[in-house]
Symmetry: C2
């Protein structure tokens, strides 16, 4: 008999962890809902044709494919190489993100959907990445997107969702960093090499990791001259509060229609007459974000500096996502929550509320037939009031029963011993402070468990 | 461009359906929680060795396997037949049920778990069955199990969970049918062919579908004589209320220790001093349940007779589930909810409450900059009170905005027109009855949306 195990990069979530994770999911879900976003769930499996070619060459390799059921031997034998083989014996694969299935759903249901369609989706995705600390092969994504609207109000709302969720979670010192891809496009124009926009973006995106010297080197390798790099460096050096940065940008991009539009969009979002934020977003010109489908606002949430965690969320506006599936001209904007990292941050800052860690509130000891029958009737009454309660399953030694309560972190124990039965009372022991009190049975149902 | 689609046997769940499904999940989860059950989540993928050989030969064929990532060409070329090929290129597979992963989890965590471990699990499973009406390749299971306790109190509690959930869901006329495998074992003994217990069980299990003549025929084919079949038929003909059936069984199995234990167990559960049920379980001797690992109580929930749906839940007591993974001697008992069918029953009986169908309660029309800025501040205040509210994303024609509210089934529309702005009031239109009223802005936050 080999010792049972689970595939590397996957995790079991036991009761304590599930409860804490559900607290995060529930906080995010509630917020999505009050903002008018609607839930969507798509199948774990998609047709291969839906997924391949959507995540770059590297992504294609990381997609988990489902082997076709039934006879595949002959098909496999005819394949000339690995690629042909793999394609001939698989027609389905596991969801790699939530964005592509969402786009596929919108296209399939375009005639029924009321646009703008504001959807949220919280489901696991699977990627064949090499597992590492904080990188799993199965993990949840939590996305909210709006498709079918160019209004910048959506950007404001999505930033407010971040603001609301992290406020609710009690997280302080996190940062909402924003930028606009139009500004980066204007920068590429300014350099005179619009065709290198993606190269410039990818290089800037690494600033955090490789520092300015690293970025300089990478820009060189990607074909930019010393003069070009000087311009980019000057841009990256623009500092100050949001309004002062916007001022400097207005000067720099005075002649760029694209640049000015980007500035206008940032101004609308940052200094919105519509609302104010608990945590004001920070305009960060070094924010670039790797994905190349963004075309407007980009946003990234940074964990509080005290915990070294990096990004705990991000998103942006993209054009034409559904074009991939034959429905062009639909713009979208979306954000995502990094639940695994948010979990680690809350854990490290000790921010999980006690309610997120509660299971059974009171264990009734099982002290034989008469006592336990009476106890069970009270257990059921407490349950009807929504209070999780249990009767120990058998009349074992007191010691064993108390150990169970302890191991399960049940805060109270209820005892219906002979004296209690005689006087219609019940003893309640608070396991945190060890104090025990006798109350009347009538008082039990109103006890503050 | 080919039309996008999803794999057969899978489903997208749009907003309306997700909300209704969540209502069912939430009702079940709340009940599990107050009964002291704890949540567990296991990965979608398991090692093949965890799954194969656990669901019979047929089951093995229906497991969805994950193709190993990377180069598999050489491995594939060396395989002699389909079986070898499939095994050489896959090492992981999708969860087929929740029971085996649960057993695997218990064994892996045996030293940390407080026994009895009462866990619930609500996750999708995948099976390569031929898709048909009501049969999907991806569907949710909702299980609650207790391992590590032989106490019949667990049986009582699990029946109470069914009782509580279906009562909460407002379902009337459903039936909780129970039987005990020990009785069926005693029957096989009575026939004198204990080795044919499984054959007898499988045949009886089909009574609903193939009728008594069918069962008779099948029993014959499985090697039972006319005399044997007569005994079984007499057994199946035992009728009456629970106590009268128990009486007749006591007579029939007077000499069978196993039979008497089964009767005692049924008596404990049916006529429990511990509790009473909203819907009293019915002792049904024709209930057999296919799975052969049950050893004690078996239970099945039948949908109300008015909807032709059959079983909407089932379970039973089993011995030695974790023995498969090297931890023998741990008994368990569990139940399962058939969420897809429960959904159909609630739909057909119109039992989904309105709260399970609500999304945004009020849409503020977008009537230009000044109005919409003011409107948005009220939208945010309503959201803070937990009321889902939206501002239409742009100031389009009234008509278009109203159509959006209608398509989204938003019940109220709020209008801040010029006259309302001038008098600090707001008009609320109830889209169900078409009535419109003007209220003060102060009253807005207390309006019954």
């Amino acid at each position: 008999m080999i010792k049972p195990s689970i595939p590397k990069g996957t995790r079991d979530f036991g009761p304590v962890v599930v409860r804490k994770r559900n607290y995060i999911f529930q906080t995010i879900r509630e917020t999505f809902e009050v903002f008018g976003f609607q839930p969507l769930e798509t199948p774990a499996m998609e047709n291969l044709s839906t997924l391949t070619g959507k995540y770059g060459e590297e992504g294609d390799k990381l997609i988990f494919r489902i082997l076709d059921n039934g006879e595949i031997f002959d098909r496999a034998r005819e394949a000339k190489d690995n690629r042909e083989l793999v394609n001939s014996i698989t027609e389905k694969a596991l969801r790699y993100d939530l964005t592509i299935p969402f786009a596929r759903y919108v296209v399939m249901n375009q005639h029924e959907l009321a646009l703008p369609f504001k959807r949220y989706q919280m489901q696991p995705v699977w990627r064949g990445d090499r597992p590492a600390k904080g990188r799993y092969r199965e993990f949840y994504q939590c996305d909210a997107d709006v498709v079918g609207s160019n209004s910048l109000l959506n950007e404001v709302e999505l930033l407010l969702i971040y603001d609301t969720v992290f406020t609710k979670l009690g997280m302080q010192g996190y940062e909402l960093r924003i930028n606009n891809r139009k500004i980066l496009a204007a920068l590429a124009d300014l350099v005179g090499k619009p065709e290198l926009l993606t190269d410039i973006t990818i290089s800037i995106d690494k600033l955090d990791k490789i520092g300015i010297d690293g970025v300089r080197k990478e820009l060189q390798e990607r074909g930019l001259t010393e003069g070009d790099i000087k311009i980019i460096e000057n841009f990256l050096n623009i500092k100050g509060d949001n309004q002062s940065v916007l001022e400097q940008l207005r000067e720099l991009f005075a002649d760029s229609a694209t640049g000015l539009r980007g500035i206008e969009e940032l101004d609308f979002v940052l200094d919105s007459e519509y609302t104010s934020y608990n945590t004001t977003p920070i305009l960060d010109l070094t924010l670039a974000r790797g994905l190349n489908y963004y075309t407007g606002l980009i946003v990234e949430v940074k964990a509080p500096a005290t915990v070294k965690m990096g990004s705990i969320g991000g998103g942006g506006r993209y054009d034409d996502l559904t074009g991939l599936f034959g429905l062009p001209g639909i713009s979208g904007v979306g954000i995502s929550f990094g639940v695994d990292r948010i979990y680690d941050v809350l854990e490290e800052l000790n921010l999980f509320p006690e309610t997120a860690q509660q299971s059974t509130r009171v264990l009734f000891l099982n002290l034989g037939l008469d006592s336990s029958i009476k106890a069970f009737s009270y257990v059921m009454q407490l349950r009807q009031k929504g209070i999780p309660a249990e009767l120990y399953h058998e009349s074992s030694k007191m010691d064993k029963q108390m150990k169970y309560a302890d191991k399960r972190s049940i805060p109270f124990v209820a005892i219906l011993g002979e004296s209690e039965l005689a006087e219609n009372s019940i003893s309640i022991k608070d396991l945190k402070n060890g104090k025990q009190e006798k109350i009347s049975l009538d008082a039990l149902l109103h006890y503050a468990f």
